[in-house]
Amino acid sequence: MSQQIPLTWFLYFAAASFSIGLMGVLMRRNAIGVLMAIEIMLNAANVNFVAFWRYGPTPASEGPISGVMMALFVVTVAAAEVAVGVGLILLCYRRWRAADVDELDTLSG
């Protein structure tokens, strides 16, 4: 039997993915690109949830699959967020003919 993967490797991968997603949120001008970077960050968080569920102890009060259920609900909320986000971006694009986040500055006075 080969050696197993330590928990910290999954945490390192998730941390690096999260940082890349954060960088994308800061560096993208197009709003769709910002949404994509947010999806990367949410996926990194999901990897953490499932990794801690698999490696950590399970108290009997939490049920057998607590981390997986949390990740499932994160996926649900992320899907709803993308649908509403793309709807908002289309609305802004139709009004101002721009999907860049730095051109949508009507509220800044």
């Binding site: 001008r29 769709i32 993308v82 793309v86 694009y93 101002w96 999907a99």
Partner: protein, 199 residues
């Protein structure tokens, strides 16, 4: 063997994430994002959560990417691909944020002893203690998820249903073509083409 597989997979996934962030063409970025989602699904398989991997492929690769593709196609005609990235000071700021957050997270992970000690995942032997329930859950995750959703997480399940319904109706209302919006847009931008904005 499995460690080498994990390293290769993670390096590929991080490269795909970087491609998503840095690709000039947004369609290319979406394709990189598909590859990244698939790597995440592979990580779930490595973590013995095959149901999560299936959900990842179905929802993220199947639904979310298609929605993003529609968003790209409906918004990218006027702006060229050169507007997808920002100017140099913002680029430096983003790189600085990346370095800072990544360093802090890695140092924090390294500093916490109970996490670095967890190098072997718990086995699931066929005994009567609490790990047996998880072993059964890993072996038959789909019925376990259904049972948990109907018992322990029923309130969260109903709330998720409410949220999805509200998001569906909200997205339809937002993306609906409204004639008053067109009038406002014409008033805001007199130079815009009425043939484009008119219904």
């Amino acid at each position: 063997m499995i460690q080498a597989l994990f390293i290769a997979l993670s390096a590929f996934g991080l490269l795909m994430a970087l491609g998503t962030v840095f690709a000039r063409n947004l369609v290319n970025a979406a394709l990189f994002l598909v590859a990244f989602f698939f790597v995440i699904a592979c990580q779930f398989v490595l973590l013995e959560a095959e149901f999560m991997a299936a959900i990842q492929v179905l929802i993220y690769i199947g639904a979310v990417t298609v929605i993003l593709m529609f968003g790209i196609m409906l918004t990218r005609n006027i702006q060229g691909d050169e507007t997808t990235t920002v100017t140099r000071p913002w680029r430096l700021l983003g790189l600085g944020a990346f370095g800072t957050v990544c360093t802090v997270l890695v140092l924090g992970i390294n500093a916490y002893q109970p996490w670095t000690d967890l190098s072997v995942r718990p086995e699931f032997p066929v005994t009567k203690d609490s790990t047996t329930a998880r072993g059964q859950a890993i072996l038959s995750m789909t019925p376990t998820v259904g049972r948990e959703m109907m018992t322990r997480y029923v309130v969260a399940f109903e709330l998720a249903g409410l949220l999805l319904t509200a998001a569906l109706v909200g997205a339809v209302v937002l993306a609906q073509h409204d004639s008053t919006d067109v009038v406002n847009a014409r008033a805001d931008k007199p130079g815009s083409d009425p043939a484009v904005t008119g219904s």
